[in-house]
Amino acid sequence: MEKKVFQRPKYLKDAVFHYCPGCGHSIIHRLLAEVLEELDIGDKAIGVPPAGCAVLAYNYFDVDMGEAAHGRGAAVATGIKRILPDRIVFTYQGDGDIAAIGTAETIHAANRGENVTVIFVNNGTYGMTGGQMAPTTLPGQNSTTTPGGRDPDRDGPPIDLSQMLAITKGSTYIERTAVNSYKNIKRTKKALTKAFKTQMAGLGFSLVEILSPCPTNWKMSSVDAAKWVDETMTKIFPLKVIKDETGKRIDN
């Protein structure tokens, strides 16, 4: 007798991802769909996709989706969640979306303790617009707007938004993970599960920052990009639980 051991998660549509080979978005999409299914919350989930490479996320997720303007995800999610507090509301945002143009919306949503979950995909570049400097671009890292590499004296150093959010009283759970290796992918899924459990228990703002390779704009092979996450990116953005005040209020 045949036994199916791998299939498309319930909350992913039967559509081909447009993402580049080696990009982390496809993996993160799958993990998110798996978590929605395992926690049995997909039918009451409302997602807010960003502007950026994941702007087309609604082509893939088979849940209600409401598109936000660039950076405004946390404000739109706030409006939805306040009207429908028993639904599960999440945003999916890139580094430019959340840590540059949407910094204010994000910080204040966290500070108010909005009971939503934010998936923050950090690949250190503006992917969709063609590889300009992102707020999280590393010192020395090349981009189309930092010829010769990001110079902290000229361009400012990379910003650690997750750390900033952690000091707000309203944030409850913030973890930084990556999707460049099997081990890290597993850890990311665990973090996503915990973030949604935080929301399900009504404990306030939860966020998972996911370091995600962008071989196209980093101008690397997929293998080198995955390595670069470990060897370079995590030096500035270490993988760790940044804040966890869930305590014993949720099971792990």
Binding site: I46, Y58, V63, M65, E67, A68, A75, I83
Partner: protein, 348 residues
């Protein structure tokens, strides 16, 4: 007035940011929403956040509103463009003040173009309602929520600092029974027992975006047929008709009364929908009226719509006081008197 009318119209979500001269509305919304079991008030971190919270609340099915004054409305234009594109209902109140830039906090009408031409980016319009009294503020607020839901589009109530600070007795309508409002089959409330839904404005396929633009344009034509409105005052025998809206119309009315006392045949036309603009009513008047005087608290914005409506059929004159200057009826009546005789309108 607008705050209480909004609550009675079933508004259950308000997000706003402090700005003068309209803080009374924000403060009223804060206490009114707190008294409602299902009401939400959020003092947002910015005008942009406020309008985007309204977008979220609207997506979730609530009657939602925000309010601000000129500089704040500029910031909200991003969200208003998205509301129009995503065909979401919402009500936005602009209590206009002197500008451009930070300007001042005195009553003005300099945001007419911004309000009636869409204001944000892209090919869209916003329904614009312009009350001229406390009672009308309440009545048009109710209509604003109904129009927003009916036509799935943002509606702006365009007032000014004078309207915002006014105290007048108002008779409020009975509160709307929210359970009796038409269903919203597009709301994002979780895909239980139905296919998942999507509310978006990204239309990468140019032919799809073109279709969407034309669809919106047809909607605006329908709106123009169905809701356009203006009020006439003593126009039956008028040889000169003043056209003004909002606070300017109230001042003009006082001026018309004065010049009528000295025998000048002058009337007033007051549009209360600025988009759609009551073109036909003005064209109708032009059969008998050869001179119109547009009075605005600006350097001349609505006057362009009057000219567009008339297409040269009659003479269009303009008098304006921008920057927060509020003319007196006396000042306007002198202007009318002078024009009336310059144009020899006293001759049969």
């Amino acid at each position: 007035m607008i705050g209480e009318a909004a609550v009675r119209a079933g508004c259950r979500f308000y997000a706003g940011y402090p700005i003068t001269p309209q803080n009374e509305l924000t403060e009223y919304a804060a206490s009114a929403m707190a008294k409602l079991e299902d009401g939400t008030f959020i003092q947002a971190e910015s005008e942009i956040a406020a309008i985007n919270m309204v977008i979220g609340a609207s997506m979730a099915g609530a009657r939602a509103m925000t309010s601000s004054s000129s500089p704040g409305i500029s910031l909200k234009q991003e969200g208003i463009s998205y509301l129009a594109a995503q065909e979401l209902p919402a009500v936005i109140v602009n209590t206009m003040r002197g500008g451009p830039g930070l300007g001042n906090i005195a009553p003005a009408q300099g945001d007419y173009f911004q309000a009636t031409r869409g204001g944000g980016h892209g090919d869209y319009r916003t329904i614009v309602l312009a009350p001229a009294s406390g009672q009308e503020s309440a009545d048009l607020t109710r209509k604003a929520f109904d129009y927003a839901d009916k036509y799935l589009t943002p509606v702006m109530i365009l007032g000014d600092g004078m309207m915002g600070q006014m105290m007048e007795p108002v008779e409020f309508p009975e509160p709307v029974d929210l359970s009796k409002l038409p269903p919203k089959p597009w709301v994002l409330d979780g895909a239980v027992g139905r296919p998942s839904r999507l509310i978006r404005s990204l239309l990468l396929d140019t032919s799809v975006e073109e279709d969407h633009n034309w669809k919106l344009a047809r909607k605006y034509e329908t709106i123009a047929r169905e809701i356009v409105g203006g009020e006439t005052y003593m126009t039956e025998d008028a040889r000169l008709v003043i056209i003004a809206y909002g606070t300017a119309a109230r001042i003009a009315k006082g001026a018309v009364k004065r010049v009528r006392e000295i025998g000048l045949k002058v009337g007033l036309f007051r549009p209360y929908t600025l988009f759609p603009y009551p073109n036909r009513m003005i064209v109708e008047m032009s059969r008998f009226v050869k001179d119109f005087l547009v009075f605005e608290m600006s350097t001349g914005q609505m006057v362009e719509d009057v000219k567009l409506a008339l297409e040269g059929r009659s003479n269009v004159h303009f008098y304006g006081r921008p920057g927060g200057i509020v003319s007196t009826p006396d000042e306007i009546s002198k202007e009318i008197n002078s024009l009336y005789h310059r144009r020899h309108l006293e001759e049969e």
